[in-house]
Symmetry: C3
């Protein structure tokens, strides 16, 4: 087993930046902080292979031995996210090129094109060399391939590869012409040679081409990963392999599809909001990761990964100890916030809490990125908090037996988010991840647990399915939703769901073409709102971003628009379908209204909050397995709070007297008495 | 005659995007909406010539026949605004290049350089082929060349062509050196080979070079148009030829100069303001178009276009049925607004109201652009409104006999607007179109009709001439203005008029060099205002953007500056010159003050509003010919309004009882009793 | 002597833009304005050498003779800041290239790469030709090399030169790898050939590389200057040589290091703030210039420049007569402001007040830049004010004997400012020049004079040393500060000082690594503030931009943070060290608080304001030499002010009766009675 049964604590460790004396101090400090796992070698290529074919493994041998002696396991990284200077100089054709034709140069990280043959060969080379040397080193518990796959490129290698990928996908040009709607603007192709990547052009680009270019990159990066994984797996089939996901609108990666190819879903998470938003982002990221892990387990090839029992496993591979990177500056996390973020991940299924990074460097581009051992050294609040966190994680190992309990599913699809960002949409405020976050926030504030699912995933455990701006819908997705509702499921659909097919072509005849029958309505017109505009809703709420002319075809209004051109027309509707209800939101409600609406939908569906009496600002997450359950209570407020709960707080070992007293910013993890 | 005597209704029609079954439905729906004219083939090159020299005309034959059978006339387009993929691949040197040297690629539209010989040859080729096949097709009533000429480029072909154009213009380098003031910053040329396009450079560019580059592109695009026109005209001299103008600061086209070369001025108009601004922009665009049509008729070569009687003819070739494209989103036009915009154009002389586009496509870059038949289909508000508009247009054919009545002229000159946008101006808020719009808005709100004229146009019908930031003035323009005033005309000049010569070199000795004697003053210093700054004016108004030290030399103050460094000095002046008055505005007055000032100037000049008792928000436009007149009344408010008028409302056939009752947002067109 | 003992008045004169008749008018107008010195030929290369090797000196001969006859001295410029068109066409490889690889083109100015051999050869060529012809012309008093050195480039010539410079600097790659911390992100170099300029890259660049690239450009531009200087000096060792400094964040020039190579520090100064900020910027720029002049005199090679006695000499070489160029527009200077700005420079040591430019051109990129003779001509406020200024300067010649009196020193270091602008800093609001300006403003408003010093300069005349965000500190700087304090000096250090070493690597173990012992504290954590965030300070002030967790190690708190995570912790501290005090500011105080703090620090150090009873808004500067002193009083308010002072006002010749009455905006220069 790649972990030792405990929850992991640790982070990226870069011994190549430090002296051997510091290595020894590091192992001692890791022991104090109960570090169980460190990632080594992520950006060490230029130190491992300082010149082509010349290797220097001495320092790594020594470090791995030291760590092993100190009881610290190693996730050994392949260093392919940052080729050495010599590689870039020898292979300028493998440097990435922007859509404008600018060739990017060495001097940062990720300066390669993953479609360039020379890069792929070099990456396989160093991976195989590491595999040969370390696949059976006792310290190595896990392989971490690359770092945060997420680059794209427009070089000639890419163009050729994109064309091959399209030929695979479409077979003939008629299919591509239809999918990309090339009759518009005279873009009809009559030879594959005419097809290129979506380079900088005069005006709006082709949506089908833009969407397929993202899909192509997801597949191409995945292929780069799989090549390395297979080499590593061959060297020692017992060692699991993963790569750490990076989240962000710019990343051309469909993480759900990748989940079947990793032995462990590993996620880097850096919230960007300072206030409560950081906690909401943390909860959503963890729910996404758990969803990918489950999805991957179902999709994985049983030949290489035997079906597993128990909760789906994933790992928070990187997070920031003491900073929130937000626009324009790093916000310093308040005391206790690191632990609260970490335990929010653990509550949602992470096998631990890992950080970038162990020790803050004196130089380099990220010299001011935070670390468990900051510039100030171990005599610091931050290191002391990491020691406390290590101790806390140590006490919580048993929770890994529990699965997170949720009866609500949020559907998410990477391609929908990509398509909503295309030029030529009716509004430039359309933002799939923000729609997902708004729905998730509404549930989170209302106290409901939820899973994030991928269209096609089994839905039998859920009573309510939410589609937040799930823009694309092919027949399979429509069938999946319809089947769920017809089986008695409750459904909540937000505007912009089901508008287009998988090629981003609009379903004609009234929006949302994919779901209008199910919803009992037809949307006749869109009324996108200005950035600073609000519409009033009957019952007191407001809507932003979007509004619509909704014509009822069986649905009943829940609330309506007040004033303006839509005055008196329905804004939110519900439609009884068999035993279930299909709700529709034609605008983005304000947070309070959204919360009331999901509460009403959940109540109708028979779903309860995790901890109905938890006060506002106290997050409750329950993990359970037959015969046991654990309740995580996270107090995000700056005041003490009390919550009714019966059991033992694992962090203190103290039984509750029916009520848990949470200090300001504090956390409790209750092993619950027979619920 | 290209139209059938009725006002046109219709739009761009793209049968290449639809099945043959849809074609038949389209013709039926066109019949319901009384569509008279559709533009076909605009972006069909890749479907008409799928490979070099291989043509596919079958579908177009069938569509033209269907339309002809359905009684719909066709404006047949040459598809040269979007070359097929095969063209770009075969001629990469014909792809456009930005000032920074970025080669733009296929994937949108307009991805060609109009100075590239290969592009010009291919464009002539497809135009000649279409002419040979369709010049005598009974459905074809009009040729529409290309679409919205407006591209520029910095490729080597462009550089060579620019140099040839400069040699034609200047003859010798001394003249160019003087015009461009190359003594500044060591830019003196001693060989034509040194002269290039204004590529990206280290710091501020040369104003003369920038201005001539715009002029070069206007002439180059015009030559591309004329080539095609001549081919089409040769194939059938009876068919008129035009191209649709696109408006916008970025367009390097002097539309007034082009007007002599088109058989019909055709304008695409898309307002960008949401509130009343859309109506003001519509009125201005229509006045501009009418001015171009008149100007062109006077300038046209009598050998190819015989002098015409009656009102100058122009056509609104494209507009948006149900959207206003504004920053960040599409605003949905309120019920009735499509008709009101359309009839505002017709009131000002358009031969009808055409739209982009007939039917909204499922895919392509503009999949969410609105259409007469929207995604929802014909069972929709938008299609119903287009049916009503078709009926209304049908009833209004007689108004085409009337000419718009105006006694006020606004002068506009494309090159002045270009020069005001150059780097190195005293303020980055200088904006010629915005100055024109501000003056036009003042007149529009005060209820006056006006024409837009080009310097040099006859002025005998006008009592008041307005120069809004007419920055450039050569001797001919100065003589034109002076002659008008000396003949008793009244003149209103705004700041930034007459500052520079046609090469953008400042007239020395006191601003505005071209007009200071006529205005009876000398401006000693400019005082540009900060973006959020206002100056107070005596009498209660305010000024923005600009202020000046005005020294009187015969003029009298109308109002003065209050406070600040200009306290007590004149802000607005008037100067009696013979029988006329020359007014000067040294700042941009607020809208109310501007309206009062133009009202005072108009009253002094003896000009009356179109409909003196029309309430605010009700626009009145009169068309007249000897013996008849028609009064358009457009209620832009959201309340019913009443206006005194005697005659018959053509839209309802009901005689007024001395007063017209306009519903909120409604329109009436009164055939007036003997005025 | 390059001047005639008087204070200089004049500016850039471009006779190549004007006719010979205008030259004669110019000399007459210069006589009226008592112009003593004009710079000729700055951008005249294309007129002096219209084709390679073909020269036209006739016009320059005539102009120099005319000026000499008119009693006007000439600073003759080498025109190398703007090569002619023929040069760029012949040497496209000498055009500059951006980090993105965009080759910039001719058409502005400064379109060369100063590392390109062809450019350097051509520059030497025209300089040598000018030297041969004019080095002994009686009109020529001074050589002005080039104009505002400040370009950079990424072309292959640059890359090669950068590599050579790095080899010189580091000797071996181990040193470079250590300095640049290349262990981070796999950037370890094993061959010099791999090292390039910091081109556009995928993500954050390397801070060491970015910093050295700035240093390289400073040295490269200096070498270009020195080449020309040596040629000119050889032609006539008696003529002094200089180049005019341009100030700005973007300029890769360490002006302090250059000061040893110029015979006269010459500065162009254009404030960018409109309100009082223009006066504060003027005072700071002049203090900077004086500091460079002193620093340069100490560093200069005694072989070429013998040690001088008396006040350090510098010259305001360019300023704007009537405009303040601020964001988006030119603000027109109010009456009297030109003189006040000029005399603020003279008060601080400038040998006069020079302007860009003498006469405003009709054309060219800077056609609206102001001038002593504006577009309007000499019958103008601006020319009249320049006549008055000429007369005033004439009366003030005696003040050049006095040295500015200051007991406070502000330390500034160009590289620190560069490093604070690197990507990856904890906040994007970190701005070295703004920190310097904030500290200087606090002193200026409190009425204290100050000098700006370069780390290493002698400090024996100062009682208080201020380090405003002096980010970098090597051992020598630390020793310099420590030695000063140990000798009894008082010290005030602001946040971000002493954080990193000269390679921008963080000093570990607690911030600020360089000074924590001296300050008696250890900063454990940074808390950068959001752009709109403030922290409250005990005592009523506020802090912006930054805050810190300060742990006292001997220092005592002066004021503390109120509220938030730092509530109750120290914000400002002081530490007694021997006879001195070391103050620390962990945030940027608001202006009032900053002023109170520097006043307290100055008082503790025993420093008095220049003129303790001067009212707010009246600036006082004193120049003195043994036995005499002159007090400049500048009334920046719009009301009359009175100041106690005894002596004779040199501008009026009137003795004060113990009190000077300053009109609104007025200036007095008092030759003081025995102080």
């Amino acid at each position: 087993m790649w972990n030792d049964g405990r929850l992991c604590h640790g982070g990226d460790y870069n011994p190549e930046q430090w002296s051997a004396a510091t290595w020894r101090e590091d192992v001692e400090l890791m022991r104090r902080a109960r570090v169980t796992l460190v990632t080594v070698g992520v950006f060490a290529w230029s130190r491992l292979e300082p010149a082509p074919g010349r290797y220097d493994f001495g320092w790594l041998d020594e470090v791995l031995d030291l760590l092993h002696d100190g009881g610290v396991r190693v996730a050994l990284a392949t260093p392919t996210a940052s080729p050495p200077p010599w590689f870039s100089l020898a292979h300028p054709d493998a440097l990435p090129v922007t859509a404008e034709g600018v060739r990017l140069h060495h001097g940062s990280r990720d300066t390669y094109c993953a479609a360039a043959p020379a890069y792929r060969a070099a990456a396989r080379g160093i991976a195989a060399t590491l595999a040969a040397r370390y696949a059976h080193h006792p310290a190595v518990a896990l392989w971490r391939v690359h770092n945060e796959y997420g680059t794209s490129c427009h070089c000639p290698h890419t163009e050729a590869a994109f064309r091959r990928w399209l030929i695979d996908r479409y077979g003939d040009l008629d299919a591509l012409n239809a999918a990309w709607a090339t009759s518009f603007w005279s873009q009809h192709y009559t030879d594959w040679a005419y097809v290129s990547t979506p380079r900088a052009t005069q005006y709006l680009g082709n949506p089908g081409q833009l969407l397929d270019f993202r899909r192509f990159w997801s597949d191409t990066l995945l292929a780069a990963y799989v090549e390395q994984r297979d080499l590593l797996r061959t060297a020692n089939p017992a060692l699991p392999v993963t790569t750490n996901y990076v989240l962000g609108d710019w990343v051309p990666v469909d993480h759900a599809r990748w989940a079947a190819e990793v032995d462990l879903v590993a996620v880097d998470h850096y919230p960007s909001a300072v206030d409560g938003g950081a906690e909401e982002q943390t909860a959503l990221a963890a729910d996404l990761a758990r969803g990918w892990a489950r999805h991957g387990r179902r999709q994985a090839d049983p030949a290489t990964r035997p079906p597993a029992d128990g909760p789906a496993t994933w790992l928070l591979m990187e997070s920031a100890a003491s900073q929130i990177h937000t626009t324009g500056r790093s916000h310093t996390k308040e005391p206790g916030r690191m632990a609260r973020h970490s335990l929010s991940h653990v509550a949602r299924g992470s096998r631990g809490a890992m950080f970038f990074q162990w020790r803050a460097p004196a130089g380099g581009a990220e010299r001011f990125h935070c670390a468990l051992v900051p510039h100030t050294g171990p005599d610091s609040r931050v290191f002391r908090e990491s020691v406390h966190l290590g101790a806390a994680l140590d006490r919580l190992a048993e929770v890994t037996a529990g699965e997170v309990v949720a009866e609500i599913a949020l559907a998410r699809d990477a391609a929908s988010d990509w398509a909503l960002r295309h030029p030529g949409m009716p509004s430039d405020q359309l933002d799939g991840p923000a729609e997902l976050a708004a729905a998730h926030r509404a549930l989170w504030r209302a106290g409901y647990g939820c899973d994030v699912v991928v269209p096609g995933d089994p839905l039998d455990r859920y009573r309510l399915l939410v589609l937040p701006a799930l823009y694309l819908a092919g027949d399979d997705t429509v069938d999946w939703v319809r089947g769920y509702v017809e089986a008695g499921g409750h459904l909540l659909v937000s505007y912009l769901s089901g508008i287009a097919d998988p090629y981003a072509r609009v379903h004609l005849g009234g929006y949302p073409g994919a779901y209008r029958d199910l919803l009992g309505l037809r949307v006749e017109e869109f009324h996108p709102l200005a950035a600073d505009e609000q519409v009033l809703l009957s019952g007191g709420g407001t809507g932003r971003i979007w509004s619509e002319t909704v014509r009822l075809r069986g649905a009943e209004p829940v609330c309506g628009y007040v004033g303006g051109v839509l005055d008196g027309l329905p804004a939110v509707t519900r439609h009884r379908v068999g035993a279930g209800t299909a709700w529709y939101l034609s605008t983005r409600p304000d947070d309070g209204t959204y919360r009331r609406l999901v509460t009403e939908a959940a109540r109708t569906a028979g779903v309860q909050p995790v901890c109905p009496d938890a006060p506002p600002g106290v997050e409750a997450v329950r993990r359970a397995h037959p015969g046991a359950s654990w309740l995580f209570l996270l107090n995000h407020t700056d005041r003490p709070q009390r919550v009714r709960a019966a059991g033992v707080d694992l962090l203190t070992g103290v039984p509750t007297a029916g009520e848990v007293a949470l200090p300001a910013g504090g956390v409790a993890v209750i092993r619950e008495e027979s619920r």
